[in-house]
Symmetry: C2
Subunit: 242 residues, 2 copies
DNA sequence: CGCCTTACGTCAACAGGGTTGACCCAATGC
DNA sequence: GCATTGGGTCAACCCTGTTGACGTAAGGCG
Protein backbone atom coordinates (compact mmCIF):
# COMPACT_ATOMS: atom_id res chain seq x y z
CA UNK A 1 0.00 0.00 0.00
CA UNK A 2 1.41 3.36 -1.01
CA UNK A 3 0.81 5.50 2.04
CA UNK A 4 1.57 8.70 0.22
CA UNK A 5 -0.25 11.58 1.79
CA UNK A 6 -0.13 14.65 -0.42
CA UNK A 7 -0.85 17.70 1.65
CA UNK A 8 -1.31 19.89 -1.41
CA UNK A 9 -4.77 20.31 -2.81
CA UNK A 10 -6.80 17.20 -3.10
CA UNK A 11 -9.47 15.78 -5.26
CA UNK A 12 -12.07 14.87 -2.71
CA UNK A 13 -15.05 12.69 -3.33
CA UNK A 14 -18.04 12.47 -1.01
CA UNK A 15 -18.02 9.36 1.12
CA UNK A 16 -20.72 6.71 0.99
CA UNK A 17 -22.73 8.68 3.56
CA UNK A 18 -22.15 11.98 1.85
CA UNK A 19 -19.43 13.48 4.05
CA UNK A 20 -16.45 15.30 2.60
CA UNK A 21 -13.36 14.12 4.42
CA UNK A 22 -10.55 16.43 5.38
CA UNK A 23 -7.60 16.36 7.74
CA UNK A 24 -9.30 18.83 10.07
CA UNK A 25 -12.60 16.98 10.09
CA UNK A 26 -10.86 13.73 10.94
CA UNK A 27 -8.90 15.24 13.80
CA UNK A 28 -12.00 16.96 15.18
CA UNK A 29 -14.04 13.81 14.96
CA UNK A 30 -11.29 11.89 16.72
CA UNK A 31 -11.30 14.37 19.60
CA UNK A 32 -15.09 14.43 19.79
CA UNK A 33 -15.19 10.67 19.80
CA UNK A 34 -12.73 10.48 22.67
CA UNK A 35 -14.61 13.12 24.57
CA UNK A 36 -17.98 11.49 24.19
CA UNK A 37 -17.39 7.80 24.42
CA UNK A 38 -14.40 7.64 26.69
CA UNK A 39 -10.74 7.06 26.18
CA UNK A 40 -11.03 3.62 24.63
CA UNK A 41 -13.10 4.89 21.76
CA UNK A 42 -10.23 5.94 19.53
CA UNK A 43 -9.51 3.32 16.95
CA UNK A 44 -9.19 3.49 13.23
CA UNK A 45 -12.27 1.39 12.83
CA UNK A 46 -14.47 3.34 15.18
CA UNK A 47 -13.18 6.60 13.76
CA UNK A 48 -14.21 5.33 10.38
CA UNK A 49 -17.76 4.58 11.42
CA UNK A 50 -18.02 7.88 13.29
CA UNK A 51 -17.02 9.68 10.12
CA UNK A 52 -19.35 7.58 8.01
CA UNK A 53 -16.58 6.23 5.84
CA UNK A 54 -14.56 3.09 5.47
CA UNK A 55 -11.87 2.94 8.13
CA UNK A 56 -9.14 2.56 5.59
CA UNK A 57 -10.05 5.84 3.97
CA UNK A 58 -8.10 7.51 6.76
CA UNK A 59 -4.90 6.12 5.33
CA UNK A 60 -5.33 8.55 2.46
CA UNK A 61 -4.90 11.39 4.93
CA UNK A 62 -2.44 10.01 7.46
CA UNK A 63 0.44 7.60 7.05
CA UNK A 64 -0.84 5.58 9.96
CA UNK A 65 -1.95 5.80 13.54
CA UNK A 66 1.21 7.59 14.58
CA UNK A 67 0.76 10.35 12.06
CA UNK A 68 -2.82 10.84 13.15
CA UNK A 69 -1.77 10.99 16.77
CA UNK A 70 0.75 13.74 16.05
CA UNK A 71 -1.91 15.75 14.25
CA UNK A 72 -4.26 15.35 17.20
CA UNK A 73 -1.54 16.38 19.61
CA UNK A 74 -0.81 19.54 17.69
CA UNK A 75 -4.49 20.34 17.60
CA UNK A 76 -4.72 20.01 21.37
CA UNK A 77 -1.75 22.33 21.82
CA UNK A 78 -3.30 24.82 19.43
CA UNK A 79 -6.67 24.78 21.16
CA UNK A 80 -5.08 25.09 24.59
CA UNK A 81 -2.91 28.04 23.64
CA UNK A 82 -5.58 29.84 21.66
CA UNK A 83 -5.89 33.46 22.67
CA UNK A 84 -2.90 33.32 24.97
CA UNK A 85 -0.73 36.42 24.98
CA UNK A 86 2.35 36.51 27.22
CA UNK A 87 2.20 39.35 29.75
CA UNK A 88 4.90 41.43 31.39
CA UNK A 89 5.47 38.96 34.21
CA UNK A 90 7.41 36.11 32.65
CA UNK A 91 6.91 33.82 35.62
CA UNK A 92 3.16 34.32 35.61
CA UNK A 93 3.08 33.84 31.86
CA UNK A 94 4.99 30.56 32.01
CA UNK A 95 2.66 29.49 34.76
CA UNK A 96 -0.37 30.17 32.62
CA UNK A 97 1.18 28.29 29.73
CA UNK A 98 1.65 25.32 32.01
CA UNK A 99 -1.92 25.38 33.24
CA UNK A 100 -3.30 25.74 29.73
CA UNK A 101 -1.29 22.84 28.36
CA UNK A 102 -2.29 20.67 31.25
CA UNK A 103 -5.95 21.55 30.88
CA UNK A 104 -5.81 20.71 27.19
CA UNK A 105 -4.24 17.35 27.85
CA UNK A 106 -6.57 16.37 30.66
CA UNK A 107 -9.52 17.26 28.46
CA UNK A 108 -8.36 14.63 25.98
CA UNK A 109 -6.75 12.02 28.19
CA UNK A 110 -6.41 9.15 25.79
CA UNK A 111 -5.03 11.25 22.97
CA UNK A 112 -2.68 13.03 25.33
CA UNK A 113 -1.44 9.80 26.82
CA UNK A 114 -0.39 8.68 23.37
CA UNK A 115 1.07 11.93 22.20
CA UNK A 116 2.46 13.93 25.09
CA UNK A 117 6.04 12.80 24.66
CA UNK A 118 6.23 13.33 20.92
CA UNK A 119 7.52 16.16 18.81
CA UNK A 120 4.63 17.08 16.58
CA UNK A 121 6.80 19.36 14.44
CA UNK A 122 3.69 21.24 13.47
CA UNK A 123 2.38 24.79 13.61
CA UNK A 124 0.96 25.01 17.13
CA UNK A 125 3.89 23.32 18.80
CA UNK A 126 6.37 25.58 17.07
CA UNK A 127 4.43 28.66 18.14
CA UNK A 128 4.36 27.48 21.74
CA UNK A 129 8.11 26.86 21.81
CA UNK A 130 8.68 30.30 20.33
CA UNK A 131 6.57 31.89 23.05
CA UNK A 132 8.19 29.99 25.89
CA UNK A 133 11.77 30.62 24.87
CA UNK A 134 10.86 34.25 24.22
CA UNK A 135 9.69 34.58 27.81
CA UNK A 136 12.94 33.19 29.18
CA UNK A 137 14.98 35.47 26.93
CA UNK A 138 12.95 38.41 28.21
CA UNK A 139 13.88 37.31 31.73
CA UNK A 140 17.47 37.96 30.88
CA UNK A 141 18.73 34.41 30.35
CA UNK A 142 21.47 33.77 27.82
CA UNK A 143 20.26 31.96 24.69
CA UNK A 144 21.93 28.73 25.71
CA UNK A 145 20.41 28.82 29.19
CA UNK A 146 17.04 29.87 27.85
CA UNK A 147 16.85 26.89 25.53
CA UNK A 148 18.05 24.44 28.16
CA UNK A 149 15.80 25.76 30.89
CA UNK A 150 12.78 25.98 28.63
CA UNK A 151 13.31 22.35 27.79
CA UNK A 152 13.42 21.42 31.47
CA UNK A 153 10.32 23.50 32.11
CA UNK A 154 8.23 22.27 29.24
CA UNK A 155 9.30 18.67 29.72
CA UNK A 156 8.19 18.86 33.31
CA UNK A 157 4.89 20.41 32.33
CA UNK A 158 4.31 17.94 29.52
CA UNK A 159 5.28 14.87 31.44
CA UNK A 160 3.20 15.88 34.44
CA UNK A 161 0.29 16.65 32.17
CA UNK A 162 0.81 13.31 30.50
CA UNK A 163 0.79 11.61 33.86
CA UNK A 164 -2.48 13.27 34.81
CA UNK A 165 -3.89 12.44 31.42
CA UNK A 166 -2.74 8.85 31.64
CA UNK A 167 -4.50 8.54 34.95
CA UNK A 168 -7.69 9.98 33.50
CA UNK A 169 -7.36 7.60 30.61
CA UNK A 170 -7.40 4.54 32.81
CA UNK A 171 -10.56 2.46 32.89
CA UNK A 172 -12.67 3.60 35.85
CA UNK A 173 -11.97 0.43 37.76
CA UNK A 174 -8.20 0.76 37.70
CA UNK A 175 -8.42 4.49 38.36
CA UNK A 176 -10.43 3.97 41.49
CA UNK A 177 -8.21 1.13 42.63
CA UNK A 178 -5.14 3.32 42.35
CA UNK A 179 -6.98 6.06 44.19
CA UNK A 180 -8.08 3.78 46.99
CA UNK A 181 -4.60 2.37 47.37
CA UNK A 182 -3.45 5.41 49.34
CA UNK A 183 -6.36 5.11 51.70
CA UNK A 184 -6.29 1.37 52.13
CA UNK A 185 -2.92 -0.29 51.67
CA UNK A 186 -0.90 2.61 52.95
CA UNK A 187 -2.98 3.01 56.09
CA UNK A 188 -2.27 -0.31 57.75
CA UNK A 189 1.49 -0.43 57.91
CA UNK A 190 3.74 -1.50 60.73
CA UNK A 191 4.78 1.72 62.55
CA UNK A 192 8.17 0.25 63.38
CA UNK A 193 9.03 -0.76 59.84
CA UNK A 194 7.58 2.39 58.33
CA UNK A 195 8.06 5.31 60.72
CA UNK A 196 8.02 8.07 58.11
CA UNK A 197 4.81 6.81 56.51
CA UNK A 198 3.27 6.54 59.94
CA UNK A 199 4.25 10.12 60.77
CA UNK A 200 2.50 11.49 57.72
CA UNK A 201 -0.40 9.05 57.74
CA UNK A 202 -3.16 11.70 57.83
CA UNK A 203 -1.72 13.23 54.66
CA UNK A 204 -1.60 10.03 52.62
CA UNK A 205 -5.09 10.13 51.11
CA UNK A 206 -4.01 13.39 49.49
CA UNK A 207 -1.31 11.49 47.61
CA UNK A 208 -3.93 10.50 45.10
CA UNK A 209 -4.33 14.10 43.99
CA UNK A 210 -2.28 15.66 41.26
CA UNK A 211 0.92 17.42 42.26
CA UNK A 212 1.01 19.37 39.04
CA UNK A 213 0.68 22.87 40.44
CA UNK A 214 3.03 22.26 43.31
CA UNK A 215 5.68 20.94 40.92
CA UNK A 216 5.26 23.85 38.51
CA UNK A 217 5.50 26.33 41.36
CA UNK A 218 8.67 24.71 42.66
CA UNK A 219 10.19 24.81 39.21
CA UNK A 220 9.27 28.45 38.66
CA UNK A 221 10.74 29.35 42.03
CA UNK A 222 14.01 27.77 40.98
CA UNK A 223 13.92 29.56 37.63
CA UNK A 224 13.18 32.89 39.29
CA UNK A 225 16.06 32.34 41.69
CA UNK A 226 18.41 31.66 38.80
CA UNK A 227 17.22 34.54 36.64
CA UNK A 228 19.80 37.27 35.97
CA UNK A 229 17.18 39.97 36.52
CA UNK A 230 16.31 38.32 39.77
CA UNK A 231 12.90 38.56 41.33
CA UNK A 232 14.39 37.98 44.79
CA UNK A 233 15.33 34.76 46.39
CA UNK A 234 13.10 33.37 49.08
CA UNK A 235 9.59 34.57 48.58
CA UNK A 236 8.60 34.39 44.99
CA UNK A 237 6.04 31.62 45.07
CA UNK A 238 3.93 32.50 42.09
CA UNK A 239 0.80 30.91 43.42
CA UNK A 240 -0.48 29.08 46.45
CA UNK A 241 -1.58 25.49 46.23
CA UNK A 242 -5.24 24.73 46.89
CA UNK B 1 -13.82 -16.95 34.01
CA UNK B 2 -13.09 -16.80 37.69
CA UNK B 3 -9.93 -14.76 37.84
CA UNK B 4 -9.19 -15.72 41.41
CA UNK B 5 -5.51 -15.51 42.09
CA UNK B 6 -4.65 -17.12 45.41
CA UNK B 7 -1.29 -15.82 46.58
CA UNK B 8 -0.98 -18.48 49.25
CA UNK B 9 0.80 -21.66 48.46
CA UNK B 10 -0.07 -23.28 45.21
CA UNK B 11 -0.29 -26.66 43.69
CA UNK B 12 1.92 -26.27 40.73
CA UNK B 13 2.10 -28.62 37.87
CA UNK B 14 4.93 -28.63 35.30
CA UNK B 15 3.92 -27.04 32.04
CA UNK B 16 3.91 -28.94 28.77
CA UNK B 17 7.57 -28.06 28.27
CA UNK B 18 8.47 -28.91 31.82
CA UNK B 19 8.74 -25.47 33.40
CA UNK B 20 7.34 -24.72 36.82
CA UNK B 21 5.52 -21.44 36.66
CA UNK B 22 5.64 -18.85 39.42
CA UNK B 23 4.84 -15.19 39.82
CA UNK B 24 8.52 -14.31 39.97
CA UNK B 25 9.43 -16.39 36.95
CA UNK B 26 6.71 -14.76 34.91
CA UNK B 27 7.76 -11.24 35.83
CA UNK B 28 11.41 -12.01 35.14
CA UNK B 29 10.61 -13.56 31.80
CA UNK B 30 8.52 -10.54 30.89
CA UNK B 31 11.41 -8.19 31.62
CA UNK B 32 13.89 -10.41 29.78
CA UNK B 33 11.57 -10.59 26.81
CA UNK B 34 11.30 -6.82 26.65
CA UNK B 35 15.01 -6.41 27.04
CA UNK B 36 15.91 -8.87 24.31
CA UNK B 37 13.33 -8.47 21.63
CA UNK B 38 12.44 -4.84 21.97
CA UNK B 39 9.57 -2.94 23.44
CA UNK B 40 6.86 -4.47 21.28
CA UNK B 41 7.60 -7.94 22.51
CA UNK B 42 5.43 -7.88 25.60
CA UNK B 43 2.12 -9.55 24.98
CA UNK B 44 0.31 -12.28 26.80
CA UNK B 45 0.73 -14.61 23.89
CA UNK B 46 4.42 -14.01 23.37
CA UNK B 47 5.02 -14.23 27.09
CA UNK B 48 3.28 -17.58 27.00
CA UNK B 49 5.53 -18.97 24.30
CA UNK B 50 8.60 -17.53 25.97
CA UNK B 51 7.65 -19.36 29.15
CA UNK B 52 6.81 -22.51 27.26
CA UNK B 53 3.23 -22.57 28.41
CA UNK B 54 -0.19 -21.72 27.11
CA UNK B 55 -0.73 -17.95 27.18
CA UNK B 56 -3.86 -18.29 29.23
CA UNK B 57 -1.97 -20.02 32.03
CA UNK B 58 -0.86 -16.55 33.09
CA UNK B 59 -4.40 -15.78 34.14
CA UNK B 60 -3.93 -18.24 36.99
CA UNK B 61 -1.28 -15.91 38.41
CA UNK B 62 -2.51 -12.44 37.45
CA UNK B 63 -6.02 -11.08 37.14
CA UNK B 64 -5.12 -9.66 33.74
CA UNK B 65 -2.64 -7.52 31.90
CA UNK B 66 -3.02 -4.67 34.34
CA UNK B 67 -2.17 -6.82 37.32
CA UNK B 68 0.88 -8.17 35.56
CA UNK B 69 1.98 -4.67 34.65
CA UNK B 70 1.79 -3.55 38.27
CA UNK B 71 3.89 -6.53 39.33
CA UNK B 72 6.48 -5.69 36.69
CA UNK B 73 6.52 -2.07 37.77
CA UNK B 74 7.15 -2.97 41.36
CA UNK B 75 9.92 -5.29 40.33
CA UNK B 76 11.60 -2.48 38.40
CA UNK B 77 11.37 -0.19 41.41
CA UNK B 78 12.78 -2.90 43.61
CA UNK B 79 15.70 -3.63 41.31
CA UNK B 80 16.46 0.05 40.87
CA UNK B 81 16.47 0.80 44.59
CA UNK B 82 18.36 -2.33 45.58
CA UNK B 83 21.24 -1.55 47.88
CA UNK B 84 20.34 2.11 48.20
CA UNK B 85 20.89 3.59 51.64
CA UNK B 86 20.01 7.25 52.25
CA UNK B 87 22.99 9.27 53.39
CA UNK B 88 23.36 12.33 55.60
CA UNK B 89 22.76 14.78 52.77
CA UNK B 90 19.04 14.60 52.05
CA UNK B 91 19.32 16.53 48.80
CA UNK B 92 22.01 14.23 47.47
CA UNK B 93 20.03 11.22 48.59
CA UNK B 94 16.88 12.36 46.82
CA UNK B 95 18.97 13.04 43.78
CA UNK B 96 20.34 9.52 43.79
CA UNK B 97 16.84 8.12 44.21
CA UNK B 98 15.77 10.07 41.15
CA UNK B 99 18.66 8.84 39.05
CA UNK B 100 18.11 5.25 40.12
CA UNK B 101 14.43 5.29 39.33
CA UNK B 102 15.06 6.82 35.98
CA UNK B 103 17.76 4.31 35.13
CA UNK B 104 15.44 1.47 36.04
CA UNK B 105 12.67 2.79 33.85
CA UNK B 106 14.84 3.52 30.86
CA UNK B 107 16.24 0.01 31.09
CA UNK B 108 12.72 -1.36 30.58
CA UNK B 109 11.12 1.25 28.36
CA UNK B 110 8.01 -0.55 27.27
CA UNK B 111 7.11 -1.78 30.72
CA UNK B 112 7.83 1.61 32.23
CA UNK B 113 5.72 3.40 29.68
CA UNK B 114 2.75 1.30 30.74
CA UNK B 115 3.34 1.41 34.44
CA UNK B 116 5.04 4.63 35.45
CA UNK B 117 1.86 6.46 36.42
CA UNK B 118 0.35 3.66 38.44
CA UNK B 119 0.28 2.92 42.13
CA UNK B 120 1.66 -0.59 42.41
CA UNK B 121 0.69 -0.81 46.09
CA UNK B 122 3.36 -3.45 46.52
CA UNK B 123 6.45 -3.96 48.61
CA UNK B 124 9.11 -2.07 46.68
CA UNK B 125 6.98 0.97 46.04
CA UNK B 126 6.01 1.25 49.67
CA UNK B 127 9.63 1.02 50.74
CA UNK B 128 10.62 3.76 48.31
CA UNK B 129 7.89 6.10 49.53
CA UNK B 130 8.94 5.46 53.11
CA UNK B 131 12.53 6.36 52.26
CA UNK B 132 11.64 9.51 50.35
CA UNK B 133 9.28 10.94 52.92
CA UNK B 134 11.77 10.04 55.62
CA UNK B 135 14.40 12.14 53.88
CA UNK B 136 12.11 15.16 53.73
CA UNK B 137 11.18 14.77 57.38
CA UNK B 138 14.87 14.63 58.23
CA UNK B 139 15.25 17.92 56.37
CA UNK B 140 12.94 19.49 58.90
CA UNK B 141 9.72 19.71 56.90
CA UNK B 142 6.41 19.37 58.70
CA UNK B 143 4.60 16.09 57.99
CA UNK B 144 2.02 17.78 55.78
CA UNK B 145 4.67 19.59 53.75
CA UNK B 146 6.83 16.50 53.55
CA UNK B 147 4.04 14.42 52.07
CA UNK B 148 3.00 17.12 49.63
CA UNK B 149 6.53 17.94 48.51
CA UNK B 150 7.52 14.30 48.22
CA UNK B 151 4.56 13.83 45.95
CA UNK B 152 5.63 16.75 43.77
CA UNK B 153 9.18 15.42 43.72
CA UNK B 154 8.42 11.80 42.94
CA UNK B 155 5.75 12.70 40.40
CA UNK B 156 8.24 14.86 38.58
CA UNK B 157 10.84 12.11 38.68
CA UNK B 158 8.39 9.44 37.61
CA UNK B 159 6.77 11.41 34.85
CA UNK B 160 10.11 12.53 33.47
CA UNK B 161 11.37 8.98 33.66
CA UNK B 162 8.21 7.83 31.96
CA UNK B 163 8.74 10.39 29.23
CA UNK B 164 12.28 9.18 28.64
CA UNK B 165 11.09 5.61 28.72
CA UNK B 166 8.24 6.34 26.33
CA UNK B 167 10.71 7.86 23.93
CA UNK B 168 12.96 4.80 24.17
CA UNK B 169 9.93 2.63 23.64
CA UNK B 170 9.09 4.22 20.30
CA UNK B 171 9.85 2.23 17.16
CA UNK B 172 13.25 3.30 15.87
CA UNK B 173 11.73 5.10 12.92
CA UNK B 174 9.54 7.39 14.98
CA UNK B 175 12.28 7.93 17.53
CA UNK B 176 14.69 9.13 14.90
CA UNK B 177 12.05 11.28 13.23
CA UNK B 178 11.33 13.05 16.52
CA UNK B 179 15.02 13.49 17.07
CA UNK B 180 15.62 14.89 13.61
CA UNK B 181 12.73 17.30 13.98
CA UNK B 182 14.77 19.70 16.09
CA UNK B 183 17.56 19.74 13.52
CA UNK B 184 15.38 19.97 10.45
CA UNK B 185 12.00 21.61 10.93
CA UNK B 186 13.12 24.00 13.62
CA UNK B 187 16.15 25.19 11.66
CA UNK B 188 14.40 26.78 8.71
CA UNK B 189 12.03 29.21 10.31
CA UNK B 190 11.24 32.79 9.35
CA UNK B 191 13.40 35.01 11.62
CA UNK B 192 10.71 37.68 11.68
CA UNK B 193 7.90 35.38 12.76
CA UNK B 194 10.10 33.43 15.17
CA UNK B 195 12.68 35.76 16.71
CA UNK B 196 13.19 33.80 19.91
CA UNK B 197 13.73 30.51 18.11
CA UNK B 198 16.14 32.25 15.77
CA UNK B 199 18.09 33.67 18.69
CA UNK B 200 18.64 30.24 20.21
CA UNK B 201 19.01 28.38 16.93
CA UNK B 202 22.42 26.85 17.70
CA UNK B 203 20.99 25.34 20.86
CA UNK B 204 18.01 23.66 19.22
CA UNK B 205 19.59 20.32 18.31
CA UNK B 206 20.14 19.85 22.03
CA UNK B 207 16.42 19.96 22.56
CA UNK B 208 16.27 16.34 21.57
CA UNK B 209 18.21 15.38 24.69
CA UNK B 210 16.59 14.54 27.96
CA UNK B 211 16.15 17.36 30.43
CA UNK B 212 15.78 14.96 33.32
CA UNK B 213 18.80 16.00 35.35
CA UNK B 214 18.24 19.69 34.79
CA UNK B 215 14.65 19.38 35.96
CA UNK B 216 15.58 17.36 39.03
CA UNK B 217 18.28 19.87 39.93
CA UNK B 218 15.87 22.77 39.61
CA UNK B 219 13.36 21.00 41.80
CA UNK B 220 15.92 20.13 44.44
CA UNK B 221 17.11 23.75 44.46
CA UNK B 222 13.58 24.86 45.19
CA UNK B 223 13.18 22.24 47.91
CA UNK B 224 16.46 23.23 49.51
CA UNK B 225 15.41 26.86 49.46
CA UNK B 226 12.15 26.03 51.19
CA UNK B 227 13.67 23.72 53.76
CA UNK B 228 13.39 24.87 57.40
CA UNK B 229 16.93 23.76 58.13
CA UNK B 230 18.02 25.73 55.13
CA UNK B 231 21.08 24.85 53.09
CA UNK B 232 21.30 28.49 51.99
CA UNK B 233 19.35 30.18 49.31
CA UNK B 234 21.13 31.00 46.11
CA UNK B 235 23.89 28.52 45.52
CA UNK B 236 22.77 25.06 46.35
CA UNK B 237 22.84 23.44 42.94
CA UNK B 238 23.32 19.83 43.85
CA UNK B 239 25.03 18.95 40.62
CA UNK B 240 26.11 20.59 37.40
CA UNK B 241 24.58 19.55 34.09
CA UNK B 242 26.92 18.02 31.53
C1' DC C 1 -1.47 -46.84 49.69
C1' DG C 2 -5.16 -45.03 47.09
C1' DC C 3 -9.10 -42.24 46.62
C1' DC C 4 -11.28 -37.33 45.94
C1' DT C 5 -11.05 -32.85 45.32
C1' DT C 6 -9.65 -29.12 43.02
C1' DA C 7 -5.77 -26.16 41.26
C1' DC C 8 -4.15 -25.19 37.15
C1' DG C 9 -2.39 -26.07 32.41
C1' DT C 10 -4.59 -26.52 27.89
C1' DC C 11 -7.63 -25.75 24.04
C1' DA C 12 -10.91 -23.46 21.04
C1' DA C 13 -13.26 -19.48 20.24
C1' DC C 14 -14.62 -14.59 20.19
C1' DA C 15 -14.38 -9.74 19.59
C1' DG C 16 -11.63 -6.23 18.60
C1' DG C 17 -7.21 -3.97 16.88
C1' DG C 18 -3.91 -1.97 12.67
C1' DT C 19 -2.60 -2.44 8.05
C1' DT C 20 -2.41 -4.21 3.17
C1' DG C 21 -3.48 -4.70 -1.82
C1' DA C 22 -6.82 -4.90 -5.35
C1' DC C 23 -10.70 -2.70 -7.34
C1' DC C 24 -13.04 0.91 -9.51
C1' DC C 25 -15.53 5.19 -9.78
C1' DA C 26 -15.62 10.02 -10.42
C1' DA C 27 -13.39 14.58 -10.06
C1' DT C 28 -9.91 17.13 -12.25
C1' DG C 29 -6.58 19.01 -15.96
C1' DC C 30 -6.13 19.42 -20.62
C1' DG D 1 -15.01 14.99 -23.66
C1' DC D 2 -11.18 12.25 -22.74
C1' DA D 3 -7.32 10.32 -20.01
C1' DT D 4 -5.34 10.44 -15.56
C1' DT D 5 -5.28 9.35 -11.00
C1' DG D 6 -6.86 10.57 -6.25
C1' DG D 7 -9.27 8.45 -3.03
C1' DG D 8 -13.33 5.71 -1.12
C1' DT D 9 -14.41 0.78 -0.62
C1' DC D 10 -13.96 -4.11 0.21
C1' DA D 11 -11.87 -8.41 1.67
C1' DA D 12 -8.30 -10.33 3.89
C1' DC D 13 -4.38 -11.06 7.08
C1' DC D 14 -2.33 -11.37 11.45
C1' DC D 15 -2.11 -9.44 15.79
C1' DT D 16 -4.26 -8.58 20.55
C1' DG D 17 -6.60 -9.71 25.36
C1' DT D 18 -9.95 -12.57 27.47
C1' DT D 19 -13.49 -16.28 28.24
C1' DG D 20 -15.46 -20.90 29.40
C1' DA D 21 -15.12 -25.71 29.09
C1' DC D 22 -12.22 -29.60 29.74
C1' DG D 23 -9.30 -32.88 31.81
C1' DT D 24 -5.19 -34.24 34.23
C1' DA D 25 -2.21 -34.66 37.97
C1' DA D 26 -0.97 -32.95 42.51
C1' DG D 27 -1.95 -32.88 47.46
C1' DG D 28 -4.73 -33.74 51.48
C1' DC D 29 -6.72 -37.26 53.89
C1' DG D 30 -8.37 -41.73 55.37
Amino acid sequence: MATRVPQERRRRRPTRSGVLLSEDLIVETALRLIGEHGPEALSVRRLGTALGCDPTALYRYFHGTDDLVLAIADRIIGDAMEGFVPGDDWVASLREMALRVRAGYVAHPRAAAMAAHRVTRRKSEIRAVETGIGLLLSAGFEPASAARLYLAFIDTVLSHAAADAAFQALPRQQREADHRAWRDVYQDLDPVAYPALTAVRPELPGMADSSFEEAVDLLLEALAARAPAARGCGRSRPGARR
